[in-house]
Symmetry: C2
Subunit: 498 residues, 2 copies
């Protein structure tokens, strides 16, 4: 194969992968938004075949020959082409490194585990889920050896979700968090809690929709390229950098739920919309990793969205949209209410301050499980012990304890830390941003263009052209978790008058 | 290839075709319902690749070998397998009979013609469109020879849209229509017209949506398998027999527009939902032809939906939903209003009585164009002459004349007659239905289950297991257009007291 032909083939194959991905996304989006209730079976058949076609293209002779050719001409490729080859090779290796029979057995196991986990959670019965979890852990320990036999098993798994991240990196990270945040959370707990009752007045969906439209406008999300829909569990989906969808869920008795889900998903969307269009239809299009993505969504949601200047900026419009509900509420009271911090049991409902400790519990347990230092049967006890130690709460049952998340039943071990890393990256980005420019002056006027401009320049535009570690280095410098703990300490000291 | 292997391959290939079709439909549906405005480009790339993949599967060596093997074992196949082989062979022949360069030149031409036609229509300037139309006619005359050199060119084209239909069949059909309907329309035109002003009071979208829900319930369209959305131009889309979507468009100043579009699309949906699930994921799944499909949609819309018993049956609920708008209206007045018949210029807005004459104009012109008996430059003159002759109206400009439809610019010659045939098939089905059972008693009580049951048994369940001609024979017997003209004569004699 000639270089020229290989470059054409590189484009053509990536366009096919894009098309299969787009088709699957479209079916998925339809399924969770407008599809009739009893229609999953037919979509499942189509999705299965599209996944098979994707696999066929990825493991076919054309891609192999294309990559071989391009790797032999490495010095003639531009940066983007090199990265495309690197990423495709990486994915191809990932697809083929697990023996086919094991892969199929694992797919069957996760499929079954999902069902068992649902039932176990419903009945709060860990013993029901235990045999599945034991098999899942055993599979993942074995897979880690396929991924990278030179690494400790959990390091090999972590690397799957956030390349370059390992236990040494995370032990330092979570060590700093534990040391600084546990006492901070205790101190906050001794102070009086803000009034949040007005968040739970009646907020009709129609008014909330108007508010969502306004928030998207503040975030400069161009509605000609970014739509909003409704789903049970909000998410962001990107077809390409010109076509991004966010979803939210309206609770009429909680104005802050949809508000912050729109800002959170809006942060994901901002990232996707700002990726360099030159990367379109390649494997480098879109956000680079889950951790970097969370850094952006949580930046907009927490660092900007729950800041006092932002709340003050949107307050006049909020009062217009919800005149009766907010008649007796001040911007300051609202800001305090949406920053109420209190140790709790459920990760997905946790506030900004305590969230990372929920993640830390999962990190410690995964680390011990995959190392073989913790038996699966001892997970509930260890879970409850760590919740008491880090958050000071007693876990009443496994439903609200170690059975609350779907990740393990889905076969994901090593995924959780990205949630916490994203938050910490964001805080360090803020510190650098503040060095470069006046962040809060414009935000106080409802103008996010400077913030978005900075993030676009340092993070968004690169898509997958840089690795996750390179993006973090570019926007944060050398990662230092004390930026994050300092940020939280300052914020909550101010909020709770510590 | 062994028979067993060929049968497996037959299933697998059809599942792939289903998956590509489903994916494309999903992207299309998204595009016309919820997608942001400026996102067509990325969808276009994906759709193009999916079409290419479909073409690859259809023209690949596996399908060829599969069909060869199965054709050699014809006597060992069951009826469904035989028909699948027949349909796939037919489509494969269709895909390969036009030389590739001509096919590509034609695709480019239709793409360009669409744009030119839009502009020509806007400016009401036939001369602008004339060169395109000349090329389109020339291509189609040549294609007709590829399709079937033994047939007259227009017969070969007609056969593409409704197999078994030719000029002899249509000359007889339209001859009867002309002879019986032209005087009927004249007689109606001499009578006073019913009051329709109350149809154009203010009907808010929310109330109309409630009405749509009710109409779908009356048609027994299970919402767990059939959703309704909103689009500019209403249509029905079927993913499979368990997943069908209809769309409508709400005009607040016209309650009958969305009402009858819901019943019309509901008729299409009824057909799709009632196809035997055993045909799922094969080329026989779904309605068999456009003509038969229109027979069903127009049956529900006109024959049932605009009948007096039906209007009387839904009237109490209509009055509940629109208490103010219909306070001074009777069911009889409403029935008369939605059956107002008046010659007009635009086919898509024509009433039940005059509709077929619009189609007849197009048939006569296409027939002459493809035969070479009419020059493209003479189309506007001939169009206007025929509108005067059949409908008695003067065409003021080409925008409201020969430039009104998109079919020719899209390359479709021979498509129009199916619209009229569908209506006529429906009338003959009604006559047979009335012989088999009491149709109007249950309808007058709002119970359509007997009507639907009859159509399911005679038409719907077969999907593509029978050819269009077999389905028509099954439900109509020997096709006789006087059933249709008798039906219209009876209905409009009663309405207008002729």
């Amino acid at each position: 194969m000639e270089l020229k032909q290989a470059l054409e083939s590189l484009d053509a194959i990536q366009k096919k992968l894009y098309a299969f991905g787009t088709a699957s996304s479209s079916l998925y989006l339809d399924g969770v938004t407008v599809a009739p209730k009893d229609t999953a079976a037919g979509r499942g058949v189509a999705l299965g075949i599209l996944a098979g076609e994707r696999h066929r293209v990825m493991t076919g002779p054309e891609l192999a020959e294309t990559l071989d050719t391009l790797e032999a001409h490495r010095e003639e490729l531009d940066r983007s082409q090199s990265r495309q080859v690197e990423e495709l090779r990486r994915e191809l290796r990932q697809l083929t490194r697990i023996p086919a029979e094991e892969f199929m057995a694992y797919a069957q196991l996760t499929n079954e585990a999902d069902d068992v986990w649902h039932r176990a959670k419903e009945q709060s019965d860990f013993e029901l889920f235990r045999p599945c979890l034991e098999k899942l852990v055993a599979f993942n320990r074995r897979f880690a050896g396929y991924y990278d036999p030179a690494k400790a098993p959990y390091d090999a798994l972590l690397n799957e979700y956030e390349r370059g991240v390992d236990m040494a990196y995370l032990d330092n990270f979570f060590g700093v968090l534990r040391q600084r945040l546990v006492p901070l959370i205790q101190a906050v707990g001794e102070r009086p809690m803000p009034d949040v009752s007005f968040l739970h007045r009646h907020y009709p969906v129609a008014q909330q929709k108007e508010f969502s439209d306004y928030l998207m406008q503040v975030m400069d999300l161009d509605r000609a390229h970014c739509a909003i829909g409704e789903t049970e569990h909000p998410f962001t989906l990107n077809f390409n950098s010109q076509d991004v969808r966010i979803t939210t869920h309206y609770h009429e008795d909680d104005v802050s739920s949809s508000m912050y889900s729109v800002i959170h998903e809006g942060g994901h969307a901002r990232y996707e919309l700002d990726v360099d269009p030159a990367l379109e239809y390649t494997v480098l299009a879109g956000g680079v990793s889950m951790g970097v993505h969370e850094s952006q969504s949580r930046f907009y949601e927490n660092i900007i969205g729950r800041s006092r200047p932002f709340v003050e900026a949107i307050w006049p419009r909020m009062r217009q949209i919800f005149p009766e509900q907010l008649a007796d509420v001040t911007a300051e009271a609202f800001w305090r209410a949406v920053n109420k911090a209190e140790p709790s049991l459920i990760r997905t409902e946790a506030d900004e301050l305590t969230y990372c400790l929920h993640v830390m519990v999962r990190y410690e347990i995964e680390k011990a499980l995959i190392a073989g230092d913790l038996a699966v049967k001892d997970v509930p006890g260890e879970w409850n012990r760590l919740y008491k130690e880090y958050l000071g709460v007693d876990v009443p049952d496994d439903r609200r304890g170690c059975l609350q998340d779907s990740h393990w039943s889905g076969g994901s071990f090593g995924y959780f830390p990205s949630y916490a890393l994203g938050s910490a990256y964001g805080a360090q980005m803020l510190a650098n941003m503040e060095k470069d420019m006046d962040v809060w002056g414009p935000v106080a006027k409802g103008d996010l263009s400077h913030v978005t401009g900075w993030l676009r320049e340092k993070v968004h535009r690169f898509g997958g052209l840089l690795t996750p570690a390179q993006v973090v280095a570019n926007a944060c410098g050398v990662f230092d978790p004390t930026y994050y703990t300092d940020y939280l300490t300052k914020k909550y000291t101010q909020l709770y008058g510590l």
